[in-house]
Protein backbone atom coordinates (compact mmCIF):
# COMPACT_ATOMS: atom_id res chain seq x y z
CA UNK A 1 0.00 0.00 0.00
CA UNK A 2 1.38 3.36 -0.93
CA UNK A 3 0.26 6.88 -0.17
CA UNK A 4 -1.27 8.83 -2.99
CA UNK A 5 -1.51 12.51 -2.15
CA UNK A 6 -2.01 13.55 -5.76
CA UNK A 7 -5.71 12.65 -5.72
CA UNK A 8 -6.23 14.93 -2.75
CA UNK A 9 -4.04 17.78 -3.84
CA UNK A 10 -5.81 17.74 -7.20
CA UNK A 11 -8.78 19.13 -5.33
CA UNK A 12 -6.77 22.18 -4.31
CA UNK A 13 -9.48 24.79 -4.96
CA UNK A 14 -12.02 22.90 -2.84
CA UNK A 15 -9.52 22.52 -0.02
CA UNK A 16 -8.75 26.22 -0.16
CA UNK A 17 -12.46 26.98 0.16
CA UNK A 18 -12.62 24.78 3.24
CA UNK A 19 -9.51 26.45 4.61
CA UNK A 20 -11.15 29.82 4.00
CA UNK A 21 -14.23 28.80 5.98
CA UNK A 22 -12.05 27.47 8.81
CA UNK A 23 -10.07 30.70 9.03
CA UNK A 24 -13.19 32.85 8.79
CA UNK A 25 -15.04 30.98 11.52
CA UNK A 26 -11.92 30.93 13.66
CA UNK A 27 -11.20 34.66 13.36
CA UNK A 28 -14.80 35.81 13.72
CA UNK A 29 -15.55 33.29 16.49
CA UNK A 30 -12.42 34.22 18.44
CA UNK A 31 -13.22 37.90 18.02
CA UNK A 32 -16.67 37.47 19.55
CA UNK A 33 -15.31 35.11 22.21
CA UNK A 34 -12.80 37.76 23.29
CA UNK A 35 -15.41 40.53 23.35
CA UNK A 36 -17.96 38.44 25.23
CA UNK A 37 -15.35 37.07 27.61
CA UNK A 38 -14.13 40.59 28.33
CA UNK A 39 -17.65 41.84 29.01
CA UNK A 40 -18.34 38.92 31.34
CA UNK A 41 -15.05 39.29 33.24
CA UNK A 42 -15.55 43.04 33.56
CA UNK A 43 -19.11 42.57 34.81
CA UNK A 44 -17.83 40.08 37.38
CA UNK A 45 -15.05 42.42 38.45
CA UNK A 46 -17.10 45.58 38.85
CA UNK A 47 -20.72 44.41 38.94
CA UNK A 48 -20.93 43.41 42.57
CA UNK A 49 -21.19 40.05 44.23
CA UNK A 50 -24.58 39.07 42.81
CA UNK A 51 -23.48 39.47 39.18
CA UNK A 52 -20.29 37.60 39.98
CA UNK A 53 -22.20 34.67 41.46
CA UNK A 54 -24.78 34.56 38.67
CA UNK A 55 -22.09 34.39 36.00
CA UNK A 56 -20.06 31.68 37.72
CA UNK A 57 -22.41 28.79 36.89
CA UNK A 58 -22.69 29.22 33.10
CA UNK A 59 -18.93 29.63 32.86
CA UNK A 60 -18.30 26.49 34.88
CA UNK A 61 -20.80 24.52 32.75
CA UNK A 62 -19.24 25.70 29.51
CA UNK A 63 -15.75 24.88 30.73
CA UNK A 64 -16.83 21.59 32.23
CA UNK A 65 -18.47 20.04 29.17
CA UNK A 66 -16.95 18.93 25.84
CA UNK A 67 -17.23 21.38 22.96
CA UNK A 68 -18.65 18.57 20.82
CA UNK A 69 -21.55 18.06 23.22
CA UNK A 70 -22.21 21.80 23.29
CA UNK A 71 -22.45 22.18 19.51
CA UNK A 72 -24.58 19.03 19.21
CA UNK A 73 -26.95 20.44 21.80
CA UNK A 74 -27.04 23.77 20.02
CA UNK A 75 -27.47 22.38 16.51
CA UNK A 76 -29.63 19.30 17.12
CA UNK A 77 -31.26 20.37 20.39
CA UNK A 78 -31.86 23.98 19.42
CA UNK A 79 -34.91 23.24 17.21
CA UNK A 80 -36.72 21.77 20.24
CA UNK A 81 -36.79 25.23 21.76
CA UNK A 82 -37.40 26.96 18.45
CA UNK A 83 -33.76 27.76 17.76
CA UNK A 84 -33.20 26.71 14.16
CA UNK A 85 -29.72 27.65 12.99
CA UNK A 86 -27.85 26.88 9.81
CA UNK A 87 -24.57 25.03 10.39
CA UNK A 88 -22.26 28.02 9.99
CA UNK A 89 -24.27 30.24 12.35
CA UNK A 90 -24.52 27.44 14.90
CA UNK A 91 -20.79 26.80 14.58
CA UNK A 92 -19.93 30.46 15.00
CA UNK A 93 -22.26 30.90 17.94
CA UNK A 94 -21.01 27.70 19.57
CA UNK A 95 -17.37 28.63 19.15
CA UNK A 96 -17.93 32.19 20.41
CA UNK A 97 -19.76 31.11 23.54
CA UNK A 98 -17.39 28.25 24.30
CA UNK A 99 -14.36 30.51 23.81
CA UNK A 100 -15.96 33.30 25.80
CA UNK A 101 -16.11 31.11 28.91
CA UNK A 102 -12.34 30.57 28.73
CA UNK A 103 -11.58 34.18 27.86
CA UNK A 104 -13.73 35.30 30.78
CA UNK A 105 -11.50 33.25 33.08
CA UNK A 106 -8.32 34.54 31.44
CA UNK A 107 -9.45 38.15 31.84
CA UNK A 108 -10.65 37.55 35.40
CA UNK A 109 -7.19 36.26 36.31
CA UNK A 110 -5.76 39.23 34.41
CA UNK A 111 -7.68 41.72 36.49
CA UNK A 112 -6.55 39.96 39.65
CA UNK A 113 -2.91 39.99 38.57
CA UNK A 114 -2.66 43.76 38.29
CA UNK A 115 -0.89 44.69 41.54
CA UNK A 116 -3.20 46.57 43.87
CA UNK A 117 -0.36 49.04 44.45
CA UNK A 118 -0.58 50.20 40.83
CA UNK A 119 -4.22 51.10 41.44
CA UNK A 120 -3.36 52.80 44.74
CA UNK A 121 -0.68 54.84 43.00
CA UNK A 122 -3.33 56.05 40.55
CA UNK A 123 -5.67 56.90 43.43
CA UNK A 124 -2.90 58.85 45.14
CA UNK A 125 -2.26 61.08 42.12
CA UNK A 126 -5.96 61.86 41.94
CA UNK A 127 -7.24 59.56 39.21
CA UNK A 128 -10.97 58.98 39.40
CA UNK A 129 -12.24 55.40 39.47
CA UNK A 130 -13.04 55.56 35.76
CA UNK A 131 -9.64 56.99 34.88
CA UNK A 132 -7.91 54.33 36.96
CA UNK A 133 -9.76 51.60 35.09
CA UNK A 134 -9.17 53.17 31.70
CA UNK A 135 -5.55 54.24 32.01
CA UNK A 136 -4.10 51.72 34.47
CA UNK A 137 -6.19 48.61 35.01
CA UNK A 138 -7.23 47.85 31.42
CA UNK A 139 -3.88 48.40 29.70
CA UNK A 140 -2.00 46.44 32.35
CA UNK A 141 -4.54 43.66 32.20
CA UNK A 142 -4.31 43.56 28.40
CA UNK A 143 -0.56 43.00 28.62
CA UNK A 144 -0.90 40.28 31.24
CA UNK A 145 -3.50 38.30 29.29
CA UNK A 146 -1.67 38.44 25.97
CA UNK A 147 0.14 35.05 26.21
CA UNK A 148 -2.80 32.98 27.52
CA UNK A 149 -5.13 34.68 25.04
CA UNK A 150 -2.99 33.73 22.07
CA UNK A 151 -2.74 30.23 23.42
CA UNK A 152 -6.52 30.04 23.69
CA UNK A 153 -6.92 31.30 20.13
CA UNK A 154 -4.79 28.39 18.93
CA UNK A 155 -6.93 25.94 20.90
CA UNK A 156 -10.05 27.42 19.32
CA UNK A 157 -8.51 26.99 15.88
CA UNK A 158 -8.13 23.28 16.50
CA UNK A 159 -11.63 23.02 17.96
CA UNK A 160 -13.13 24.29 14.69
CA UNK A 161 -12.41 20.83 13.24
CA UNK A 162 -15.29 19.49 15.35
CA UNK A 163 -17.69 21.75 13.46
CA UNK A 164 -17.45 19.29 10.56
CA UNK A 165 -19.73 17.06 12.65
CA UNK A 166 -22.56 19.57 12.36
CA UNK A 167 -21.84 19.82 8.61
CA UNK A 168 -20.07 23.15 8.58
CA UNK A 169 -18.22 23.10 5.24
CA UNK A 170 -14.85 23.87 6.81
CA UNK A 171 -11.54 22.25 6.08
CA UNK A 172 -11.90 18.99 8.00
CA UNK A 173 -15.26 18.28 6.42
CA UNK A 174 -14.03 19.19 2.93
CA UNK A 175 -10.83 17.20 3.07
CA UNK A 176 -12.30 14.11 4.68
CA UNK A 177 -15.10 14.13 2.11
CA UNK A 178 -12.48 14.18 -0.65
CA UNK A 179 -10.63 11.45 1.17
CA UNK A 180 -13.58 9.07 1.20
CA UNK A 181 -14.59 9.83 -2.40
CA UNK A 182 -11.07 9.09 -3.60
CA UNK A 183 -10.49 6.14 -1.22
CA UNK A 184 -7.57 8.06 0.27
CA UNK A 185 -8.71 8.35 3.87
CA UNK A 186 -5.33 8.27 5.60
CA UNK A 187 -3.82 10.67 3.08
CA UNK A 188 -6.61 13.15 3.80
CA UNK A 189 -5.85 12.97 7.50
CA UNK A 190 -2.17 13.61 6.89
CA UNK A 191 -3.01 16.61 4.72
CA UNK A 192 -5.31 17.94 7.46
CA UNK A 193 -2.67 17.50 10.14
CA UNK A 194 -0.08 19.33 8.07
CA UNK A 195 -2.35 22.25 7.21
CA UNK A 196 -3.60 22.71 10.81
CA UNK A 197 -0.08 22.50 12.11
CA UNK A 198 1.10 25.11 9.59
CA UNK A 199 -1.76 27.40 10.63
CA UNK A 200 -0.95 26.97 14.32
CA UNK A 201 2.73 27.69 13.70
CA UNK A 202 1.78 30.81 11.75
CA UNK A 203 -0.48 31.98 14.57
CA UNK A 204 2.24 31.28 17.14
CA UNK A 205 4.75 33.17 15.04
CA UNK A 206 2.52 36.23 14.83
CA UNK A 207 1.88 35.97 18.55
CA UNK A 208 5.58 35.83 19.36
CA UNK A 209 6.22 38.88 17.18
CA UNK A 210 3.55 40.85 19.02
CA UNK A 211 4.84 39.73 22.38
CA UNK A 212 8.39 40.70 21.49
CA UNK A 213 7.18 44.14 20.41
CA UNK A 214 5.39 44.54 23.75
CA UNK A 215 8.02 42.91 25.95
CA UNK A 216 9.51 46.15 27.27
CA UNK A 217 6.07 47.07 28.55
CA UNK A 218 6.09 43.97 30.76
CA UNK A 219 5.44 44.12 34.47
CA UNK A 220 8.48 45.01 36.49
Amino acid sequence: MSFDFAVILAKGPEILMGLGVTILIWIVGTFFAVILGFVVATARRFGGRLVDTLLTLPIEVLRGTPFLVQIFLLYFGGPYIGLRLDPITAGLLGLSVYGAAYYAEIFRAGYQSVPIGHVEAATCVGFSRGQTILFVLLPEMALLVMPPSLNMAVILLKETALLSLITVPEMTMTVSAIGSQQYAFVESLVVLAVVYWALVELANFLGRMTERKLSKLGTT
Partner: protein, 262 residues
Protein backbone atom coordinates in the same frame (compact mmCIF):
# COMPACT_ATOMS: atom_id res chain seq x y z
CA UNK B 1 -5.40 76.95 62.08
CA UNK B 2 -2.57 75.01 63.62
CA UNK B 3 0.88 74.89 62.18
CA UNK B 4 0.61 71.14 61.72
CA UNK B 5 0.79 69.73 58.22
CA UNK B 6 -0.70 66.49 59.49
CA UNK B 7 -2.55 66.08 62.73
CA UNK B 8 -3.36 62.55 63.86
CA UNK B 9 -5.84 62.43 66.72
CA UNK B 10 -6.80 59.32 68.65
CA UNK B 11 -6.47 57.12 65.60
CA UNK B 12 -7.13 53.42 66.03
CA UNK B 13 -7.29 50.88 63.27
CA UNK B 14 -8.63 47.35 63.34
CA UNK B 15 -8.28 44.69 60.67
CA UNK B 16 -11.14 42.39 61.58
CA UNK B 17 -10.61 41.79 65.27
CA UNK B 18 -6.93 42.68 65.43
CA UNK B 19 -6.11 46.10 66.70
CA UNK B 20 -3.23 47.31 64.54
CA UNK B 21 -3.07 50.95 65.60
CA UNK B 22 -3.87 51.92 69.19
CA UNK B 23 -4.94 55.46 69.88
CA UNK B 24 -2.22 57.24 67.91
CA UNK B 25 -1.69 60.95 68.49
CA UNK B 26 0.88 62.63 66.31
CA UNK B 27 1.60 66.05 64.93
CA UNK B 28 3.72 66.46 61.83
CA UNK B 29 4.87 70.09 61.70
CA UNK B 30 5.15 71.87 58.39
CA UNK B 31 8.49 71.67 56.63
CA UNK B 32 9.78 68.92 58.86
CA UNK B 33 10.81 65.33 58.33
CA UNK B 34 9.24 62.78 60.63
CA UNK B 35 10.62 59.27 60.48
CA UNK B 36 8.52 56.32 61.55
CA UNK B 37 10.55 53.42 62.86
CA UNK B 38 9.63 50.24 64.63
CA UNK B 39 9.66 46.45 64.34
CA UNK B 40 7.99 44.62 61.48
CA UNK B 41 4.24 44.42 61.94
CA UNK B 42 4.14 47.32 64.38
CA UNK B 43 1.74 49.27 62.14
CA UNK B 44 4.04 51.76 60.41
CA UNK B 45 2.65 51.16 56.92
CA UNK B 46 -0.89 51.14 58.21
CA UNK B 47 -0.42 54.52 59.90
CA UNK B 48 1.15 55.99 56.77
CA UNK B 49 -1.60 54.55 54.58
CA UNK B 50 -4.19 56.08 56.88
CA UNK B 51 -2.52 59.45 56.24
CA UNK B 52 -3.18 58.97 52.52
CA UNK B 53 -6.63 57.52 53.21
CA UNK B 54 -5.64 54.30 51.48
CA UNK B 55 -6.78 52.77 54.75
CA UNK B 56 -9.69 54.11 56.79
CA UNK B 57 -9.01 54.59 60.46
CA UNK B 58 -11.56 52.74 62.58
CA UNK B 59 -11.79 55.71 64.92
CA UNK B 60 -10.09 59.04 65.39
CA UNK B 61 -9.40 61.83 62.92
CA UNK B 62 -6.61 62.85 60.60
CA UNK B 63 -6.33 66.44 59.49
CA UNK B 64 -4.27 67.58 56.51
CA UNK B 65 -3.34 71.27 56.74
CA UNK B 66 -6.43 71.94 58.78
CA UNK B 67 -8.76 70.00 56.47
CA UNK B 68 -10.28 66.74 57.69
CA UNK B 69 -9.14 63.76 55.62
CA UNK B 70 -11.73 61.29 54.42
CA UNK B 71 -14.57 62.41 56.61
CA UNK B 72 -16.47 65.65 57.14
CA UNK B 73 -18.31 66.54 60.28
CA UNK B 74 -21.98 67.13 59.60
CA UNK B 75 -25.02 67.81 61.75
CA UNK B 76 -25.65 64.05 62.01
CA UNK B 77 -22.11 62.99 62.83
CA UNK B 78 -19.35 62.35 60.33
CA UNK B 79 -19.88 61.28 56.77
CA UNK B 80 -17.47 59.99 54.15
CA UNK B 81 -16.11 62.65 51.81
CA UNK B 82 -17.29 62.48 48.23
CA UNK B 83 -14.78 61.27 45.67
CA UNK B 84 -14.19 64.85 44.54
CA UNK B 85 -13.69 66.19 48.08
CA UNK B 86 -11.33 63.35 48.85
CA UNK B 87 -9.32 64.02 45.70
CA UNK B 88 -9.06 67.66 46.74
CA UNK B 89 -7.68 66.84 50.21
CA UNK B 90 -5.44 64.12 48.82
CA UNK B 91 -3.94 66.47 46.23
CA UNK B 92 -1.77 67.92 49.01
CA UNK B 93 -0.18 64.51 49.50
CA UNK B 94 2.35 62.61 47.43
CA UNK B 95 2.89 58.93 48.20
CA UNK B 96 5.94 56.77 47.49
CA UNK B 97 5.69 53.01 47.91
CA UNK B 98 8.19 50.32 48.79
CA UNK B 99 7.44 48.49 45.53
CA UNK B 100 7.61 51.70 43.40
CA UNK B 101 4.27 50.81 41.76
CA UNK B 102 5.16 52.45 38.48
CA UNK B 103 2.76 51.72 35.64
CA UNK B 104 4.68 49.32 33.40
CA UNK B 105 2.95 50.32 30.17
CA UNK B 106 4.02 53.96 30.41
CA UNK B 107 7.47 55.46 30.00
CA UNK B 108 9.08 57.36 32.87
CA UNK B 109 7.75 60.55 31.30
CA UNK B 110 4.32 58.98 30.87
CA UNK B 111 4.23 57.94 34.52
CA UNK B 112 5.10 61.43 35.71
CA UNK B 113 2.93 63.37 33.26
CA UNK B 114 -0.20 61.18 33.58
CA UNK B 115 -1.70 63.06 36.51
CA UNK B 116 -0.88 66.43 34.96
CA UNK B 117 -2.79 65.44 31.85
CA UNK B 118 -5.67 63.46 33.34
CA UNK B 119 -6.22 65.25 36.63
CA UNK B 120 -4.83 68.74 36.08
CA UNK B 121 -6.09 68.56 32.45
CA UNK B 122 -2.98 70.18 30.99
CA UNK B 123 -2.19 69.79 27.31
CA UNK B 124 0.16 66.94 26.44
CA UNK B 125 2.99 69.34 25.66
CA UNK B 126 2.64 71.34 28.85
CA UNK B 127 2.22 68.23 31.00
CA UNK B 128 5.36 66.73 29.51
CA UNK B 129 7.30 69.94 30.01
CA UNK B 130 6.48 69.95 33.69
CA UNK B 131 7.04 66.22 34.03
CA UNK B 132 10.43 66.65 32.42
CA UNK B 133 11.32 69.26 35.03
CA UNK B 134 10.42 66.78 37.79
CA UNK B 135 12.51 64.08 36.14
CA UNK B 136 15.42 66.49 35.94
CA UNK B 137 15.06 67.16 39.63
CA UNK B 138 15.52 63.45 40.41
CA UNK B 139 18.37 63.25 37.89
CA UNK B 140 16.58 61.17 35.27
CA UNK B 141 15.98 63.55 32.38
CA UNK B 142 17.98 61.28 30.10
CA UNK B 143 15.80 58.30 30.96
CA UNK B 144 12.46 59.99 30.22
CA UNK B 145 11.65 57.69 27.30
CA UNK B 146 12.51 54.47 29.14
CA UNK B 147 9.92 52.02 30.39
CA UNK B 148 10.08 50.89 34.04
CA UNK B 149 11.37 47.45 33.02
CA UNK B 150 14.34 49.19 31.40
CA UNK B 151 15.29 51.06 34.58
CA UNK B 152 17.18 49.95 37.68
CA UNK B 153 15.32 49.77 40.98
CA UNK B 154 16.86 53.01 42.18
CA UNK B 155 15.89 54.77 38.97
CA UNK B 156 12.36 53.39 39.19
CA UNK B 157 11.98 54.69 42.71
CA UNK B 158 13.25 58.11 41.65
CA UNK B 159 10.68 58.15 38.83
CA UNK B 160 8.06 57.24 41.42
CA UNK B 161 9.17 60.19 43.53
CA UNK B 162 8.96 62.49 40.49
CA UNK B 163 5.47 61.13 39.80
CA UNK B 164 4.38 61.86 43.36
CA UNK B 165 5.82 65.39 43.08
CA UNK B 166 4.11 66.16 39.77
CA UNK B 167 1.00 67.75 41.27
CA UNK B 168 3.06 69.90 43.67
CA UNK B 169 1.98 68.27 46.94
CA UNK B 170 3.00 69.98 50.16
CA UNK B 171 3.42 66.68 52.00
CA UNK B 172 5.31 63.58 50.88
CA UNK B 173 4.73 60.16 52.43
CA UNK B 174 7.35 57.45 51.96
CA UNK B 175 6.80 53.80 52.88
CA UNK B 176 10.20 52.10 53.13
CA UNK B 177 11.33 53.66 49.86
CA UNK B 178 14.66 51.84 49.80
CA UNK B 179 13.75 48.46 51.26
CA UNK B 180 13.25 46.81 47.86
CA UNK B 181 16.58 48.11 46.56
CA UNK B 182 20.02 46.56 46.38
CA UNK B 183 22.20 48.25 49.01
CA UNK B 184 24.31 50.07 46.42
CA UNK B 185 21.18 51.71 44.98
CA UNK B 186 19.73 53.08 48.21
CA UNK B 187 22.10 56.08 48.20
CA UNK B 188 20.71 57.69 45.05
CA UNK B 189 17.16 57.53 46.40
CA UNK B 190 18.12 58.80 49.86
CA UNK B 191 19.99 61.69 48.23
CA UNK B 192 16.89 62.75 46.33
CA UNK B 193 14.94 62.59 49.59
CA UNK B 194 17.59 64.58 51.40
CA UNK B 195 17.39 67.28 48.72
CA UNK B 196 13.62 67.38 49.12
CA UNK B 197 13.95 67.77 52.86
CA UNK B 198 16.44 70.60 52.35
CA UNK B 199 13.87 72.39 50.19
CA UNK B 200 11.53 72.35 53.15
CA UNK B 201 9.15 69.61 52.03
CA UNK B 202 7.04 68.15 54.82
CA UNK B 203 7.85 64.46 54.87
CA UNK B 204 6.78 61.35 56.73
CA UNK B 205 9.18 58.51 56.10
CA UNK B 206 8.71 54.93 57.21
CA UNK B 207 12.23 53.59 57.11
CA UNK B 208 14.64 50.98 58.33
CA UNK B 209 17.54 53.27 57.37
CA UNK B 210 18.33 54.31 60.91
CA UNK B 211 21.26 56.38 59.68
CA UNK B 212 19.01 58.38 57.38
CA UNK B 213 16.42 58.80 60.12
CA UNK B 214 19.06 60.05 62.55
CA UNK B 215 20.64 62.50 60.12
CA UNK B 216 17.64 63.83 58.16
CA UNK B 217 14.73 63.32 60.53
CA UNK B 218 13.58 66.22 62.67
CA UNK B 219 11.44 63.80 64.62
CA UNK B 220 11.72 60.09 65.24
CA UNK B 221 8.49 58.26 65.94
CA UNK B 222 8.81 54.80 67.40
CA UNK B 223 5.89 52.44 66.90
CA UNK B 224 5.63 49.16 68.74
CA UNK B 225 2.65 46.83 68.60
CA UNK B 226 0.45 49.56 67.20
CA UNK B 227 1.35 52.04 69.92
CA UNK B 228 3.32 55.20 69.35
CA UNK B 229 5.76 54.70 72.21
CA UNK B 230 7.36 58.12 71.75
CA UNK B 231 8.29 60.76 69.22
CA UNK B 232 11.08 63.18 69.72
CA UNK B 233 14.19 64.62 68.13
CA UNK B 234 16.82 62.08 67.04
CA UNK B 235 19.25 63.47 69.61
CA UNK B 236 16.87 62.66 72.42
CA UNK B 237 15.53 59.39 71.02
CA UNK B 238 18.91 57.90 70.25
CA UNK B 239 20.71 59.29 73.29
CA UNK B 240 21.56 56.81 76.00
CA UNK B 241 19.97 55.63 78.13
CA UNK B 242 17.37 54.52 75.62
CA UNK B 243 13.96 53.06 76.10
CA UNK B 244 14.35 49.30 76.51
CA UNK B 245 12.04 48.48 73.54
CA UNK B 246 13.98 50.84 71.29
CA UNK B 247 17.28 49.44 72.54
CA UNK B 248 16.09 45.96 71.67
CA UNK B 249 14.91 47.14 68.24
CA UNK B 250 18.18 48.93 67.47
CA UNK B 251 20.17 45.85 68.46
CA UNK B 252 18.77 44.09 65.41
CA UNK B 253 20.15 46.88 63.24
CA UNK B 254 23.70 47.05 64.44
CA UNK B 255 24.94 45.32 61.33
CA UNK B 256 23.07 47.76 59.09
CA UNK B 257 24.92 50.99 59.67
CA UNK B 258 23.43 51.91 63.01
CA UNK B 259 26.75 51.10 64.65
CA UNK B 260 27.38 54.83 64.65
CA UNK B 261 24.71 55.17 67.30
CA UNK B 262 26.60 53.07 69.80
Amino acid sequence: MTDAAILVKNVSKKFGDTLVLRDINLEVPRGQVSCLIGPSGSGKSTLLRCMAFLEQATSGTITIEGEPLGFVEGPNGRRLQTAAELRQTRSKIGMVFQQFNLWPHMTALGNVSASLRRVRKLSKAEAEDRAMAQLEKVGLKERAGFYPSQLSGGQQQRVAIARALALDPTIMLFDEPTSALDPELTGEVLNVMRALADEGMTMVVVTHEIGFAASVGNKICFLDHGKLLFHDTPEKVFAAPREPRLEQFLDTYLDRGAIMLR
